[in-house]
């Protein structure tokens, strides 16, 4: 099964990196993402872009954006282009198809995040590293490593469930975008609550030990993802998919 998962994942990654995503963006769109998030924004932010531990929020959530852009295509797109039925008629198990696609989405989110982090590091060192080489703090590096995997996995598992329900890639992408809005809603609503309350929330957050908070969030993400993957595994069955 492991070999089958890698077979499916490598084909998906080949399609993504060579030909772009469901929105028809070419491989040059990857370069544009790297240009914006790896050069333009770091240049605007200066040394803080690399050194501030708060940027773990940025590196943690970025994969959600990348993965949500492709995951709908991996499932709903395969069904829409009528390639899924041919795949279901092969010797591949349901699980190896599902996990192969999840692995591809996860690898894509993880790889893109780290490519952008690397580009950012080079940019900041060229632009602001006159006093010596600048590196990400260890806690940020480890946090980005863990969260880029977990958030990619979260986005991928939500995407699978959405794709299984959606009638088309477009519908799946719309549902993913709506889901993303819901996830970011608490942050957006922060500016509308009274200043006193905001300060109180800020104080609570500042008093939480960052490592403990990160571990707690990681555990919650892991549990949520596990539940989502179990549900996806139950829904992703030949006899159901063939009739969609």
């Amino acid at each position: 099964m492991i070999a089958d998962i890698f077979t499916v994942a490598s084909k998906e990654l080949r399609e993504i990196f060579t030909f772009g995503d469901a929105r028809g963006r070419s491989k040059f769109s990857l370069l544009i993402l790297i240009l914006i998030f790896g050069i333009v924004i770091p240049m605007q932010n200066g040394r803080d872009w690399v050194e501030s531990p708060i940027n773990i929020m940025v590196w943690g959530w970025m994969p959600f954006l990348w993965v949500s852009g492709i995951v709908a295509d991996l499932f709903a797109g395969e069904r829409e282009r009528h390639t899924l039925e041919a795949l279901l008629a092969t010797r591949l198990s349901d699980g190896s198809i599902l996990f192969g696609k999840l692995l591809a989405a996860l690898t894509y989110g993880f790889t893109l995040t780290w490519l952008i982090m690397l580009a950012s590091l080079v940019t900041i060192n060229i632009g602001f590293g006159r006093e010596g080489l600048l590196f990400y703090p260890l806690e940020l590096t480890l946090g980005a490593l863990v969260f880029s995997i977990l958030i990619s996995g979260l986005s991928a598992s939500i995407g699978v469930l959405v794709s299984l329900r959606a009638g088309s890639v477009r519908q799946a992408q719309q549902m993913m975008s709506a889901g993303m809005l819901v996830l970011f809603l608490p942050f957006m609503l922060m500016q509308f609550i009274p200043e006193g309350w905001r300060d109180a929330v800020g104080n609570i957050l500042l008093n939480i030990a960052p490592v403990q908070a990160a571990v707690g969030i990681a555990l919650v993400l892991l549990i949520v993802e596990s539940i989502l993957i179990v549900i996806a595994r139950r829904l992703f069955q030949r006899s159901k998919l063939i009739l969609d």
């Binding site: 070999a3 089958d4 077979t7 084909k11 080949r14 399609e15 060579t18 030909f19 282009r81 009528h82 390639t83 899924l84 039925e85 041919a86 795949l87 279901l88 008629a89 092969t90 010797r91 591949l92 198990s93 030949r238 006899s239 063939i242 009739l243």
Partner: protein
């Protein structure tokens, strides 16, 4: 041992019986044509045989494996070209085949050799590195056939392989299929509503409508079993009295007039000269007399008509 054996196989969708008590045997090494109009249950039968759908009742064995309990074993040994070609249009022809070769755990060298062999045979090798999105439908269908054969399956399912192709592309694909059948020695289960295709390719034919198997046998056997020998006569002065007199002749099983010609199904084709003599005596100026070969289309229409008659 039969490649396919079903016993009272049944599958419904709501109130619709897509496959209704299908009992069928397909010997190994044959090209079996499954004929039926759209919506007759052909695709559902293939899905049941591949274990992609569960049957409501009855059972099926494919290559000796039960499709309900050993579906994985069935799919390991079969290839399938289903309703849509299912190729990845952003990938090249070689990459499409390579992917399926990897799915079947073929080694790199085996995959390369097999890709070359199949694509050369189908005259696609020179274009192996092109993304197939720009290819014609006929070329894609040929590539999809190659994909089903990639892993040397014992049995392949082809669901309407020439549907939607122009006549030239259909004829080319049929020729390619015919030669592949000989070279690969594979059992083929082919669904089609193209009767000429079935005549050309199939050694055995089954006719299905409303999920029920109406008849099964060789194309020639079916023609002999379901239709009388036929006489085709064109001429002048074929009056209604002449037609009436033919109707009363015991040799005549069925009489139709098509575009001014007489189409007569006889009980005994060897006595066709008696019909000609009767017409000459009645003053008909005969232009042409032809003993016409009844084609599978007539057989098919007759079977469907009989089924309708049975229902009424």
């Amino acid at each position: 041992m039969n490649a396919i054996q079903t016993d009272q196989l049944t599958r419904s969708f709501g109130n619709l019986k897509a496959v209704d008590r299908l009992t069928l045997e397909v010997p190994r090494g044959t090209v079996f044509g499954f004929l039926g109009p759209n919506g007759s249950g052909k695709t559902t039968t293939i899905r049941l045989l591949l274990g992609l759908l569960d049957a409501d009742a009855g059972s099926a064995q494919v290559l000796g494996f039960n499709t309900r309990t050993q579906a994985d074993e069935v799919r390991v040994r079969c290839g399938a070209l289903l309703e849509h070609h299912g190729l990845y249009e952003r990938l090249s022809a070689a990459d499409n085949l390579d992917y399926y070769g990897r799915i079947w755990h073929m080694s790199k060298a085996d995959r390369e050799n097999r890709i070359r062999e199949l694509l050369e045979r189908l005259d696609l090798y020179k274009r192996r590195d092109e993304p197939i999105g720009r290819w014609s439908r006929g070329m894609k269908q040929k590539l999809a056939v190659a994909r089903t054969l990639m892993h040397h399956p014992e049995l392949i399912f082809l669901d309407e392989p020439t549907a939607g192709l122009d006549p030239v592309a259909s004829a080319t694909l049929r020729e390619d299929l015919a030669s592949l059948v000989v070279q690969e020695g594979v059992t083929i289960f082919l669904t089609t509503h193209n009767l000429a295709e079935a005549e050309k390719l199939c050694t055995q034919v089954g006719v299905i409508n409303h999920g029920q198997l109406l008849a099964v046998g060789s194309p020639a056997g079916l023609r002999a079993r379901t239709s009388a020998p036929r006489l085709y006569i064109t001429g002048q002065d074929i009056t209604s009295q002449v037609v009436d007199s033919l109707h009363s002749n015991l040799l005549v099983k069925k009489l139709q007039q098509r575009n001014g010609a007489l189409v007569i199904d006889l009980n005994d084709l060897a006595r066709s000269h008696e019909i000609v003599a009767q017409l000459v005596e009645a003053g008909v100026k005969i232009d042409e007399v032809r003993k016409e070969r009844v084609d599978l289309e007539d057989v098919f229409l007759q079977l469907v008509e009989e089924e309708r008659g049975g229902e009424e």
